[in-house]
């Protein structure tokens, strides 16, 4: 299928008519509202709704997508079908479009809560070796449950937001010192956006969880490794992960990814029934990251061991209520090879083996460095892209 908008049909375009990701944008008038990316344009959904072309009870005029997402899967399907019709060849060429180059992109959702998981076995093992040695690298429960921890929703920012190198307590010979972080790192992840609520004391099955996921963004869980090493036992990472988490502005819907559904990593042991799925929960998605414009690593989302649906189901296993706008980080996506790792910690073996970036040595991130994440699925004659997810490091405020 092709669009009447030429830029949507160009080879390598992230946003063809098969994608239609949702975001929040503003233009000169400064009023954030909801839109859908198509080619090099944004469909202004607030104006579409005002013209009576679509109906989401006014939710598209709001500065985040939560109101639309909360209307549920039948509404998501209805709007997607209607936009496909309007944007297809022979559709409505008078649709209100905004040039993406002239728009400012905002955080697409009000993040209710943020949970980060740990679902790449390669990453869990590699990082485990560095933090705890090879004997204790993979925690005993790792192949039985998606290990996760609650992150800090207030620190989630949209692509392009500068990231300040944090200060923190670092371990030293004679007790801790107060210092700028010396081992600042990225984490290449996908983030799943929860599109429904659940009640306290209720559990959600994996099948129900699949239907509760609205879509996915790229997610960079910036990490202060030295702060983390000193603080994280026994209650987990805290300030090491609160300096900022960057997400991409466009939410690629589960509907757009459906043709790319695939199996994940091979299971080491059977899962308990509440985590078993009746369909594969992963996507054949190329993912990777660059540093100062140089491509550093590329792998596939299908290396992961637990899907977002399994993570969401586990998240409710104790009866924890979930809410529209909850963000679930997949965990760092790392393949087995060095050029497939989603964090510098892994790539440099804990800073021991530097990498070369545009002729300069890097063990961890330096001030001024810019990290970009990417992800895309390749369809028949089209690509489902996620668009950019970038952040540049500012020097610490001492």
């Amino acid at each position: 299928m092709r669009s009447w908008l030429a830029s949507a049909n160009e080879e390598g375009c992230d946003f063809p008519i098969q994608n239609l990701p949702y975001g929040v944008f503003s233009t000169g008038d400064g009023v954030p509202r909801c839109g859908v990316a198509i080619g090099d344009r944004i469909v202004d959904l607030a104006v579409c709704e005002a013209r009576g072309l679509i109906n989401a009870e006014g939710a598209f005029g709001l500065p985040q997508l939560n109101g639309f997402i909360a209307q549920g899967r039948a509404k998501w399907d209805e709007i997607r079908a209607r936009l496909t019709e309007l944007l297809a060849e022979g559709g409505d060429e008078s649709l209100p479009l905004v040039a993406m180059a002239e728009a400012r992109l905002h955080l697409p959702i009000r993040v209710s809560e943020f949970t980060d998981f740990y679902a790449s076995k390669n990453h869990a093992f590699n990082v485990g070796v560095l933090f705890r040695g090879p004997e204790n690298a993979l925690p005993a429960q790792w192949t039985h449950m998606p290990i996760g921890y609650n992150g800090r929703a207030s620190s989630v920012v949209v692509s392009g937001t500068p990231i300040r190198r944090p200060m923190g307590q670092l371990k030293a010979e004679e007790g801790p010192v107060w210092s700028p972080c010396r081992r600042l790192d990225l984490e290449l992840e996908l983030g799943a956006i929860v599109g429904g609520d659940s009640e306290l004391g209720e559990r959600v099955s994996v099948a129900e969880a699949e239907r509760m996921i609205f879509g996915y963004v790229l997610l960079n869980d910036w990490s202060a490794r030295d702060v983390q090493a000193w603080e994280y036992q026994p209650l987990g990472p805290f300030q090491a992960k609160a300096l900022g988490t960057t997400i991409s502005p466009w939410i690629v819907t589960q509907a757009a990814l459906e043709p790319f559904r695939c199996e994940g990593a091979e299971r080491v042991n059977p899962l308990l029934p509440y985590l078993q799925e009746d369909q594969p929960g992963f996507y054949d998605l190329t993912v990777g990251w660059s540093l100062n414009g140089q491509r550093m690593a590329q792998t596939n989302y299908n290396v992961m061991y637990y899907s977002s649906a399994q993570q969401l189901a586990h998240h409710t296993s104790s009866g924890c209520p979930m809410r529209v706008g909850d963000l679930l980080g997949s965990g760092t996506i790392s393949g087995p090879e060095r050029d497939q790792t989603g964090a510098l910690l892994e790539m440099t073996g804990g800073g021991k083996t530097p990498v070369t970036v545009n002729g300069e040595e890097r063990r961890f991130l330096e001030d001024g460095d810019e990290v970009g994440l990417f992800a895309h699925a390749e369809g028949q004659g089209y690509r489902i892209g996620f668009g950019p997810c970038t952040g540049r490091i500012l020097p610490a405020k001492e």
Copy 2:
């Protein structure tokens, strides 16, 4: 100082004119609005505002206190002074009062995010011995920083809400089993309510943090100890702490607690400058808990090692943004003796030494058990009480 309302002057009353804690209530009409507890009554602040007696820009008509709290300390002081004037002997006896016995109490704030700390050295040591043995009981960084983890705001409920025993993965000989939690526990804590915002990349000093705290509630961080033991390494507790966290409905303001400010536990080593305080950050508060009506333990909040202000300052040490409505759990409050411990895990030595409750043996909580927390400060001829914070255990849904 005394009130014209006789019940506020009775001996042992939790809510004399010196207290004036804020909450959210509804009556027969079912519309939640803000109020202040006085004696056995609630001052209907929405009606007070409608009558022009006080002014908070309409915030008291809302179903949570966030809008009022966000107006800042000068407004808190203004309203407290005005209510004191109206409620004192010689004040306004036509104030709109509601009988507390006829009101339903709601969650007083929309909890933005919930963080739980670990600031009683007795508790940290006792629990550390049980989880990791005496050599590794107190983590190396414990005396240098307030260790905390992010909890789940969506699971915070108001006193009286039933708590469902969770299902979960429990460790067993031949791999984990799916089972109702067998080691369900309480945690006696105070919760600090953050009353101001901070920005990404900015830090808050301990002195600024003191001024950002609006007040305190009782907090029971229900814990599934067996789920916790299997899941918590390396990223910290997750589902073990997401089954529900109960808070008391009345927020006792920092202003009401000010006369009871005192030192906490003795320091083992100097703190880094960003954690040092120029005034004591604790309160002389009797705290304790009961099980099925029997008093089980009583201690004092002044056993704690880190104050809420220090915890809040540390929370921003990496530049993490804080928001009005953030809830900071103090950590379990335990004195050194068995009848001063704030959790059954400690009191029974990990379930080894049962306690007797109304003639029945208890190692952990049974279905139907009701836990109540209490706290109060004793002034000259008055008591600043927190009111009840209760929850009853429902059987698991298998």
